[in-house]
Amino acid sequence: MNNHSCQQEQNVAAALRAGTLDATLLAHAAACPVCSDVLLVTEVLQKDRASLERDLHVPDAAVLWKKAQARAKEQALAKATLPIRIVRICACILAFVAAPSILIELSHGPAWLPDLGLKHLSSIDANWLAALTGTTVLGIAATILCLGLSSWYMLREE
């Protein structure tokens, strides 16, 4: 034993926890200031633990199990949709970067604009159907088809 530690310190605490504290260790603890403190602290904390555990209400394991299952499903879903989120972010960045050049191109009046029938949009009145070209109609039809297919794909699980 020295002023900082005692070799019996762990033995005293372990014996008290196990309920096997014998007269020899008790006599040692009475004479040793280190073990005396350890004995007091261990005894008081053990009593506190016993009374605390009696008073505590803990939720059933099934509650935790269901909560963890829901969490795991969320994590699996997030992992599975990670590529979709990455592509979406890339598309947004690309659109943001490309927007100025597209605007510049459109401001010069691109050569393909008349084919879309958009050249006359500003002057369209009630007879707007006449302004549509075959390419425009085809584009609109393809867009509606793609919207329908993608909606069905995303909502089919529900």
Partner: protein, 192 residues
């Protein structure tokens, strides 16, 4: 007892499409029930005393179990003691995260006070008051060492402290708590 942890290949991560053998979690439900039975009360008691706030302790307790169950431990095989140590480690880390957050109200123990006076209840109250006067880290170490019976290696694993620091803290903390108990004591068993 070795806890049965499912060894799942990456291709098995399809809990939404069809249930995996043990669901999306890595541990069997029956094994978890047994584990919960062994650890739930000791863990909550540790958190209540180390946090000093029962509501916070219950939040951390639930979160610790959720993280334990959803952790990437498929390829590990743990015995009971390792699994218990891992759970306490998660809880200790969560507690530390709460303490590190700024702008939090100081933690206070809102555990209902004993309503009737008596020697036993006085002793409990004195113990709680003395324990709450210790630093959080000291409370953690004292509880793990003298209540849970963890050795220095397990405490190091749980708290992230080095063994030398643990030795030093575990020399000082019991003396400090014993002094606090003796200075507050109105009971012969404490003042001896």
């Amino acid at each position: 007892m070795i806890l049965e942890l499912a060894l799942r290949a990456p291709s098995d991560i399809e809990p939404l499409a069809r249930p995996a053998r043990h669901g999306p979690l890595a541990m069997e439900e029956s094994a978890f029930r047994a584990f919960h039975e062994q650890t739930a009360r000791p863990l909550l008691a540790y958190l209540v005393r180390a946090c000093g706030d029962r509501h916070l302790a219950e939040d951390i307790w639930q979160e610790a179990y959720c993280r334990f169950l959803t952790a990437d431990i498929q390829r590990m095989r743990m015995d009971d003691r390792q699994a218990r140590s891992y759970l306490f480690q998660i809880a200790t880390n969560l507690m530390r995260d709460k303490w590190r957050r700024p702008k939090e109200e100081p933690l206070e123990d809102d555990t209902p006070e004993p309503v009737a006076a008596g020697p036993h209840l006085d002793l409990k109250l004195e113990m709680r008051q003395a324990f709450q006067r210790l630093k959080p880290r000291e409370r953690q170490l004292l509880w793990l060492a003298y209540v849970e019976g963890s050795n220095h290696k397990e405490i190091a694993h749980c708290t992230g402290l080095r063994a030398a620091r643990i030795r030093l803290l575990l020399f000082r903390a019991p003396r400090k708590l014993a002094d606090l108990l003796r200075s507050d004591a109105r009971h012969p068993e404490i003042t001896k």
